[in-house]
Symmetry: C2
Subunit: 464 residues, 2 copies
């Protein structure tokens, strides 16, 4: 059960959350006080999964550029990273984890004083005939990215089908278009990016068609045709799309099975339940990253959002607490941002459907404006949509679709949401104005004005 003169922290999972926790704990407690062992199933630590489409597209030259820190670098900081090592069982009563050597298969128990679970997310894979065929790839791990790029460069596929129109699906579609591949995208919904309202999602669909992606929306994937074990086509509810490469971008769900089997509580999203300090309901067990659920600060509901930025923050919070400090992770407001060729897309908070589901009566405002002063070179057009609570005028969410310089304005909306601002109050915000950066009324302010006017006229038309 290890060394009893010092505490032992066992970390399951060596990516963003696990390594952030390990690093923070190490900063606060030296190796004489705290031993830190990280169990990582794969070969890599701390890499940018969000960078995979850029690696596949060739924008990023080398897979190593996506790796923030290698196992060797962590070892220098006295964090004992063991790659190709999988945790297969947690015994919370005895405080130990059963560990399997991925290559050799040998198993043993490792004891812990504190356990950090950072097992990440697992991709949704369709249970469909041919889904395991050669040429069908998920986009979850760096190994997936390396395999796809190798296939693209060595086999020169002519036609690719991307299944799933979320962020990763659209980014992969762009990457493959960049590679000169004919790309189709299939999604069961009537629009890509379902986290946007239909009116804003339509702008993204138009942009995808504009770069030459064939969109097949409202079509279910029913199976994959194969020949000698390799994929040759994707069969949808409406057609057969020939393909020598298929990318599955169907989203992910918390990889919480290991925790659940150990009796550690998971929530309605399937994610591990933690408090704001990232403690699970089991003693001496912490969790962070894609495997946990967190609170949506606008709806108040539990959500599981797999994003490296949350994983890093939660890991940091867990690590500070493990190191004897005090930190909390209060939740998220649901911010996401993406760039597909020249199109920038962002959203935060609740869209109309989400707001209705959360019980809010809403109003919306959509404005078109320019990213810079209209007369300044490089000014582009952008659309900003705000979803607002009726009567109170509280901001509930925002969506942006535009070009260069548009989408990062979502940060302002996210901070306004965080602070429960009303749109009327937002009209006064002191945002940076100069012609190369903004029109005299920043698009965020123009949208807030329009929304405030709608709240006021609704109040006038429908007095209490």
């Amino acid at each position: 059960m290890g060394d009893h003169t010092r505490e032992r922290l066992l970390v399951i999972g060596g990516d963003a959350a696990g390594m952030s926790a390990a690093s923070q704990a190490r900063r606060r407690r030296g190796p004489d006080e705290l031993e830190i062992v990280v169990l990582e199933r794969g070969r890599f630590t701390s890499y940018s999964a969000c960078g995979i489409p850029y690696y596949v597209g060739g924008v990023v030259g080398d897979a190593e550029e996506l790796i923030a820190r290698t196992p060797a670098e962590f070892r220098e900081r006295r964090i004992d990273v063991r790659t190709r090592t999988e945790a297969v069982e947690i015994d919370t009563r005895a405080g130990r984890v059963r560990v399997r050597d991925v290559d050799g298969g040998a198993e043993r128990w490792e004891g812990y004083d504190q356990l950090m679970i950072a097992t990440g997310a697992a991709p949704a894979r369709p249970r469909l005939p041919g889904a395991d065929a050669d040429g069908v790839h998920g986009v979850q791990t760096l190994d997936d990215g390396i395999a796809i790029r190798r296939l693209v460069e060595e086999r020169g596929p002519r036609r690719a089908v991307v299944v799933g129109g979320g962020y990763i699906g659209l980014e992969m579609a762009e990457a493959l278009v960049t590679r000169g591949i004919e790309v189709s995208l299939v999604d069961g919904a009537e629009q890509p990016m379902r986290t946007l309202d239909p009116d804003m999602g339509r702008l993204v669909a138009d942009a995808m068609r504009g770069i030459g992606v064939g969109l097949h929306l409202g079509e279910r994937v029913e199976g994959f045709d194969t020949e000698k074990g390799a994929v040759t086509a994707v069969r949808t509810s409406a057609r057969t799309l020939p393909a020598d490469l298929v990318i599955l971008g169907l989203g992910v769900k918390p990889d919480s099975g290991l925790a659940r089997r150990a009796g550690i509580e998971t929530g309605p999203t399937g994610g591990i339940v933690t408090d704001r300090r990232m403690r699970t309901r089991a003693e001496r067990v912490w969790a962070a990253g894609d495997c946990v659920e967190t609170r949506h600060l606008v709806s108040g509901a539990p959500v599981a959002i797999a994003l490296g930025t949350h994983a890093n923050k939660q890991g940091r919070v867990a690590g500070i607490n493990l190191g004897g400090g005090y930190a909390t992770f209060p939740g998220v407001v649901g911010t996401a941002i993406s760039k597909i060729c020249h199109v920038e897309v962002a959203r935060t908070g609740l869209n109309e459907a989400e707001a209705a589901a959360a019980g809010f009566a809403t109003l919306s405002a959509v404005v078109e404006s320019t990213t810079r002063a209209g007369y300044h070179p490089g000014a582009t057009t952008m659309k900003t949509k705000l979803v607002v609570e009726r009567r109170s005028g509280r901001l509930l969410g925002g969506q942006i679709v535009g070009e260069e310089g548009a989408a990062k304005r979502v940060d302002g909306l996210a901070i306004a949401l965080w602070n429960r601002m009303t749109v009327e109050e937002m009209t006064g915000l002191d945002l940076g104005y100069a012609p190369p950066f903004s029109p005299v009324w920043d698009p965020v302010l123009i949208a807030a004005r329009k929304a405030a006017e709608r709240v006021e006229s609704d109040m006038r038309d429908n007095p209490l």
Copy 2:
């Protein structure tokens, strides 16, 4: 005294604040209910003074592009704009304004039911020998901009001296460098952009030297040499700089003399005092824009900051209230942003000196990071500095110096200031992350983390 069947709003000044107020009032009250007369001394209405350097530099082709709306366009909306018409006296007891025809010189009285003062700011002009010589130009009005550009294009000046190292001075220096002119900049202070702390201002100085501007800091201007009425050199406390063009960028102060002479209260900054609805202390008299003082929401002190964005907001608020609605302008947090060639600069809140003057005990954190994921093409380096209150960790101010994609992040800091956030709370902010937009920890979050660590270690080292 005009038509008594309807109210009459008289607006003095036809730029951002005055025309915003007129437009908002008109939206809410039709011409049958409210007559709106605007008195404008110059020839133009509603133009972007901030765009003048870009017009002089040739980035903006035509001066008309800087005009948001012409007098004729306002007249179509039944706003009676009278250009070349100057208000010379306000009689608040009788509710009337003495008006002079700038070209003809004729005077008459115009009555009002409501008066809106939007007289803007007046440039500080040094009382020095030669300051009125040919070739010495301020940069206040669109006419100034037109005159400078004409001089640049027609006379082909070889050497220019810019007096004053604030935003407008630096932007004009860049514009003239762009035109192939040899540019020197003189400022009495030891750094340009005194609204930045010296460590951040130094980065701006380096950038200015990098584009070939000769900086003469810590030198007072003592006079101008002339020949046949035209400027030939600028004499400073240390040297004589030959010049065939001199730009005065010495800042501005509220142009509140007209109001003051009418007994309308002005404050310590020289600006007209208003409440949050933009009412002056005189009955039926409102004011907005560069001629008023407002509250700094961090220091609590009155400030006069001449910026089109504040003028527009205050004018809108006044106009809503004049139109029978309810709106307030609570104050500013002191945000400013600028781009000089490839260098982006922004600041908000209080810098170290300002925070000390306001009675805050502070800590600071400076971080260097990239604008995008380090591996993403187009990532540039930026420095972010946060000034934080000791103990509480409340954010007091922020400064950014970087390149493409850096400075507009000041908006996030400005909104955090507005909401009195602590840096510890800011570390959790859900900002947009994707490789083309940000590293996995946005620079704002990295800076907040570093600042939070400094607050914590200060607390540990200096227990209460």
